[in-house]
Symmetry: C2
Subunit: 111 residues, 2 copies
């Protein structure tokens, strides 16, 4: 039996798809946000607030979407916590992986 | 007679108005640019290009619009070079100031 850190070919496919689903959802939300923000901007002071938002989001996205199998449990737990991923999106992963992801996400919610 | 580095109350009024005119023009152009850019953005990679543009513009604007009388000749010369200010916007300044601003702007164009 595989331990929870090993990913079968089958699980890798599911993981990759789930990762992309979350990324696409968050991407869409950011783009919508930016379009709304820009529609309300009337001067540079307000525009620089958009610049700060974009810089922050860029750093956040770069840091968050880290597709390394060694950290993927944590990435998925965070994405679930933040609402970008649903548990159903991970269906097909080994039960012990799902348990661990759930455990981390519950722990994260409490912090 | 005042030397070209001294600014009379009258000249300060003209300078302040010209400074604002240039700033408003450039502000409008940046806002238009950003709206056009955002309308063409369809993913985060493209959005980060907008983030880079905004960061660059923010630094540029902070550095460029420096309202200190000791550097104002250079600021106006640069604004003329870049097309944000017209010589007519400075009408009313002492002739020697205008000469100096013209001299610097011609020199800048050549560089």
């Amino acid at each position: 039996m595989m331990n929870s850190m090993e990913w079968s070919k089958w699980e890798k496919d599911i993981a990759r798809k789930a990762f992309k689903i979350a990324y696409d959802r968050e991407q869409r939300a950011i783009l919508e946000n930016v379009r709304e923000m820009i529609s309300e901007v009337s001067d540079l002071k307000e525009l620089w607030r958009l610049q700060e938002y974009l810089t922050e989001k860029r750093n956040e996205m770069d840091e968050k979407y880290d597709y390394r199998y060694s950290v993927l449990h944590f990435v998925f737990a965070r994405l679930i916590c933040e609402g970008w991923l649903k548990q159903e999106d991970l269906e097909g992963l080994a039960e012990e992986k799902l348990d661990e992801i759930r455990r981390i996400s519950i722990f994260s919610k409490g912090s």
